[in-house]
Amino acid sequence: MTETAPRRMEQPLAWLQRQWTTMVRIRRAEEAVAALVESGEARCPCHLYIGQEAIAAGVCSALERTDTIWGGHRSHGHYLAKGGPLAAMFAEILGKETGCSGGRGGSMHLFAAGQGILGTVPIVAGTVPLAVGAAMAYKMRGEAHAAVAFFGDGCVEEGHVHESMNLAALYRLPVVFVCENNLYSSHMHWSERRLADHLHRAGEFHSVPGERVDGNDVEAVFAAASAAVSRARAGEGPSFLECRTFRWRGHVGASMDLDVGVKRRGELEEWMQKDPIARLEVRLRACGAVLDERPIREEMQDALEAARQAPFPAAGRFVEHVFAEAACAS
């Protein structure tokens, strides 16, 4: 188990630019969602990803379309980084018929089977064993896919995360546990929930190798994720990544630095200095890259407009789909 991965491959400029696009798309989308929340247009609980963009971008850039990702309540970033369509996400948050889940799920339930997103849910740790199960499917079918479980530092407090790690190690399953340690679980600082600050060691007892990664450095995340995914595809079993980061907004909703009514400990300013996008931009500019946000902003406006125009689900049809007509080919 190593601390902070020293690994750092030099990535080509085009790759860096793609990451920048992914991360800026996430940030702008989240800012748009924040505005929807503030205006009251969006009413479902929204947990924003601002500040953590490098993790979704770095991990998903190590994945193929056929790999699956599994998320929780804070999964807008995962969905977008993995290729989920933007307008369908906005529409879902607004409860519209054209939402990626038909308006049934809202912000906390995102879906894009074609992009390897078979569902995100807000029950903490709910999808961690599911990711292990998807990995079991890949192994049984002899497919070289990987499943990635995204979850937070609080999630490690759920016992079945430990059960899941043991099963993944025992059966040598191609799964990567990506723990986004943003220091807080809701309003609770890590030190109020656990004695030691060493989440990268969570899998050690279960023989899941772990690594601590700077979660605000997209290249470091990519390097660690690539190694873990390679291990997975090679049949070498699961890995655990602790990606250290910070969310800028409150636990839920649009407020800055206020978690469900509780002030945090003043870390925000320090972490805004470590803004993963600004860091990447420094590097990109040094390489002479020209960064143009206009296409992203246009995309946002178009997607938002489409979502706003879309109809609500037809009256009285909410009792449909309690059962599926057919299992979906993933």
């Binding site: 479902c44 609980p45 308006g103 689900p313």
Partner: protein
């Protein structure tokens, strides 16, 4: 009498219990935030210290088991789950352990524990953050279940639950927190298992559980305008529930509508309807009506929520139906 909100009544009960009984403490998630339990627990940590108001890690099973063990060892814990959905992770300590303990050991010991779970009806929270799962626990021998609808009962039932040497599941609903009612300042108990008669009437008995009891009150007003004189019973306790009071009323009115904030199939409404149908068999003039959620998870979109959650309107429709009245008049409940 003094008027309090439902949330303030819950908070006052906590504060008085904590002040009176050094064995009492609260553990669970969200206790140090004003958000999860709203005003119902606000600042209790400041008043009684964070040693007694313990905001816990995200470990529903172990925190609930901890509360069971502490109760066995002589404490009087309240374990708090801000949503019943999360409480499912504690099914083992609740159903296998707490509910069976007294019986397993021949009554030699009880588990004086209050398990508090909150229903989050509405608010676009979707299928995993809004489930009203009381019927699952009502089914379990060895558990008592109370579901106050009024501020008065919110306080008095918590006090009674704390006095009980057995595990009591106390379920409140966020949608009631801002409602108000008269609440005595002193400590008092509402007996577990006793319903409250909210309105006397001759034509039909409306039996409400939790937030649906409040909807029954509204429905009765609408119905009275139409000349229908409804009797309203707020069940308050679900296990045991007040069979005598309900049967007596239905024997008188000959008609019953059961309003339950949970799903239909094998829900609380099924037990009540089955019991009424059997015990008031000869007095019942029409089949018992059940106003429930459909057998369907909660949708998120607010428009769909409006259709999903039944309320006074549906209770009125059911009442009219058992009275053979068309639903033409007074449809705006």
């Amino acid at each position: 009498m003094r008027v309090l909100t439902y949330a303030a009544a819950i908070r006052e009960a906590h504060a008085q219990i904590l002040a009176a009984d050094p064995r009492a403490f609260v553990i669970g998630q969200g206790l140090w935030s004003p958000w999860y339990a709203g005003a119902s627990l606000e600042d209790l940590d400041r008043e009684f210290s964070r040693e007694r108001i313990i905001d816990s890690p995200v470990s529903e099973n172990a925190t609930t088991g901890l509360a069971v063990g502490a109760a066995l060892a002589g404490m009087r814990p309240i374990v708090f789950h801000p949503r019943l959905d999360f409480m499912l992770l504690a099914a083992d300590p609740i159903v296998n352990q707490a509910a069976n303990w007294a019986y397993l050991f021949g009554g030699r010991i009880g588990v004086p524990l209050v398990i508090r779970g909150v229903i989050n009806r509405g608010g676009e929270q979707g299928a995993q953050h809004s489930q009203a799962l009381h019927a699952m626990f009502m089914h379990v021998p060895g558990l008592k279940v109370v579901m106050p609808a009024a501020a008065y009962d919110a306080k008095g039932l918590l006090m009674a639950a704390m006095d009980d040497p057995n595990p009591v599941l106390y379920i409140d609903d966020r949608c009631l927190y801002e409602t108000t009612g008269a609440v005595p300042e002193a400590m008092f108990r509402v007996p577990i298992g006793k319903a409250a008669l909210r309105r006397s009437g001759r034509d039909v008995t409306l039996i409400g559980i939790s937030s649906m009891a409040a909807q029954c009150n509204r429905a009765a007003e609408t119905l009275s305008v139409e000349g229908i004189d409804a009797e309203v019973i707020d069940l308050r306790s679900l296990k045991p529930w007040d069979r005598d009071r309900v049967i007596e009323s239905v024997r008188k009115t000959g008609r019953a509508v059961v309003a339950d904030p949970g799903w239909r199939t094998a829900g609380a409404s099924a037990e009540i309807a089955a019991t009424i149908s059997a015990e008031a068999f000869h007095d019942l003039k029409e089949p018992v009506e059940r106003v429930t959620l459909p057998d369907c998870p909660a949708p998120t979109s607010r428009l769909e929520e409006g259709r999903y959650y039944a309320g006074a309107k549906e209770i009125c429709e059911s009442a009219r139906r058992v009275l053979g009245r068309g639903s033409a008049q007074g449809a705006a409940a």
